[in-house]
Amino acid sequence: MKTTVRRTEIAVLGAGPAGIAAALAASEAGAAVTVVDEYPRAGGQIYRQPPEAFRVLRPGRLGKEYKAAQRLSRKLAESSVELLTGTLVWGVDQDRTLFLYDERGASVELKAHAIVVASGAYDRPIAFPGWTLPGIWSAGGAQAMLKSQRIVPGHRVLVAGAGPLLLPVATALVEAGAKVLGVVEATTRWEWARQTHRMLGHRNRISDFLYYEMRLLHARVPRFFGHAVVRADGTDGVAQATIAAIDRQWQVTPGTEKRFDVDLVCIGYGFLSCMELPRLLQCELYFHPQQEQYLPRHNADMETSVPGVFVAGETTGIGGAELALAEGEIAGLAAARLVGHALGAERQRAMAAAQKLRRHQLGFARVLDALFAPQPGIYRLAQPDTPLCRCEEVTVAEIQDAVRRGGRSVRAVKAATRVGMGPCQGRICGNLVAHLVARETGRPVSEVMDLSPRPPVKPVPLAVLAGLAAEGSSEAARTAT
């Protein structure tokens, strides 16, 4: 397979709010920018739009995110930014060469002077008995199906987990005609009330929240606070789901179980950042205790420990679209300056304003961290025969066994059990296995969590790797094959 080599000044990885903001800012400052995204359309998750083949008849029903998404993608289309959609970044070299593979089967090496990683996040997986049954969807996945495909994945639904995503997902399901049997939230109203004073400066967020609350109240959707989905049953897909009361450690209170007949359960316990690219780029990381994940260190300009590598949006930690837009603008301007485009007075003011906005939005992110941080009981829902690794089907008991035989970290358990070696590369099971190993060994989660990705970060045809290896050009290809 032939590989084309191309060059750009700034490569932006991810076309969500952070990536688009970075690309526009850098391009307006005079830089040549290439944006790469795996999806067929720009937008990422929160700004996900219906496919181009659909015609939007009632934009009002698509929410304020749709308006923002449209505004940004129109600006992107009018700009000089090059947009490569349907294109996967499967590897990177230390000299900022990116290995791309697109949906038409073309293989590209993109050499950049600076990189902005804005690769987003995904729903934090939580395992419970029955969690592999079809009909158990991540809340974000259900939202994507509703928001862009306008397809309702079930009729009788529980929406469960912790955090602000549950409300818009439940609202969208109701508006699309599904029967939402309950919104099951791990935290309590009392815990929410205690954070109210910290939210007062964030009027937009409060009005969104009240809108969803009103819609759910109006549709008489039952709300269960201090509860969690503890198991799912069914033969060829979920048919029943059981919820139970949980305490402040999110530990199940026996005897409080309630069963529901369902055909869809949407699970969302917050998000995990996609860290494959910062890890491959060898950015220095730190452990964020509330978000329970490693994140890249960066300075006020969003530059990481690796010169020329910037981060923005969920890549820097979970914080939402408004924060992502501010970080994207900062990273884009700083990257443009780095590659030789001096920032005039106006752009310097824009940079300062974005930095101020970022600090403000970070305040809100901290409130959500404090309120919705997962508590240890939730990692005890999985039973000995529950698979934690969905790809390789490795159960809790098998991992416990590997720990007893001396595996004291995720990496050691991986070698012994194949956990995290399937196509998802540990994106789904990594944190779950880390919590189990930590519990079994008494070590802190931050110390056992050492699952690191290797290229290709997502499966690509062997021919792509073979083509690179044949040209003998790259370290990444040699590692991969």
Binding site: E38, Y39, P40, Q45, P50, P51, A53, F54, R55, V56, L57, R58, L62, E103, Y122, D123, T132, L133, P134, I136, W137, S138, G140, G141, A142, A144, M145, L146, Q149, R150, I151, V152, P153, G154, H155, A176, G177, T235, D236, G237, D263, P387, R390, E393, M421, G422, P423, C424, Q425, R427, I428, R454, P456, K458, P459, P461, L462, L465, A480, T481
Partner: protein, 134 residues
């Protein structure tokens, strides 16, 4: 369960499609004057020999879901049923085999007219099925 879809009337196919949707649990969103979107052109694709309807722009996972299909494959080791899980291209649970493309994440690939999809990975040439992960 009658399945509703936006734009069906314009393409003049609503009746035809309902027949396909008999087993449906899931559905395409509300139709008629309240429709939020008008879907792309109505097409057909083939799943293990069965012809299913889809609209241009829908993903394979979307069209299968709208047809009431939840089980896309069974796992190798324990034979447990799998379908859409993350829905955004992270988990690889929703893998299906597509003629000419090999195994793909059905949530990431748009359906094309006449596309031949095989659940359980049956009937796809092995040479196209080799994908490296590690």
């Amino acid at each position: 369960m009658i399945c509703h879809r936006a734009g069906g009337a314009r393409h003049g196919v609503a009746g035809n499609e309902t027949a396909h949707m008999g087993r449906g649990r899931a559905m395409r969103e509300e139709v008629g004057r309240r429709a939020v979107v008008e879907r792309g052109k109505l097409i057909e694709f083939v799943v293990d020999g069965e012809v299913l309807p889809a609209y241009v722009g829908e993903t394979i996972a979307g069209a299968l879901t709208a047809a009431g299909r939840r089980v896309f494959r069974h796992s190798e080791k324990t034979g447990s049923p799998r379908g859409v899980f993350c829905g955004i291209g992270i988990c690889f649970d929703c893998l299906v085999a597509v003629e000419g493309l090999g195994r793909v994440r059905s949530c990431m690939v748009e359906v094309r007219p006449g596309m031949r999809v095989s659940l359980e990975g049956r009937g796809v040439a092995a040479s196209e099925d080799d994908r490296a992960t590690d």
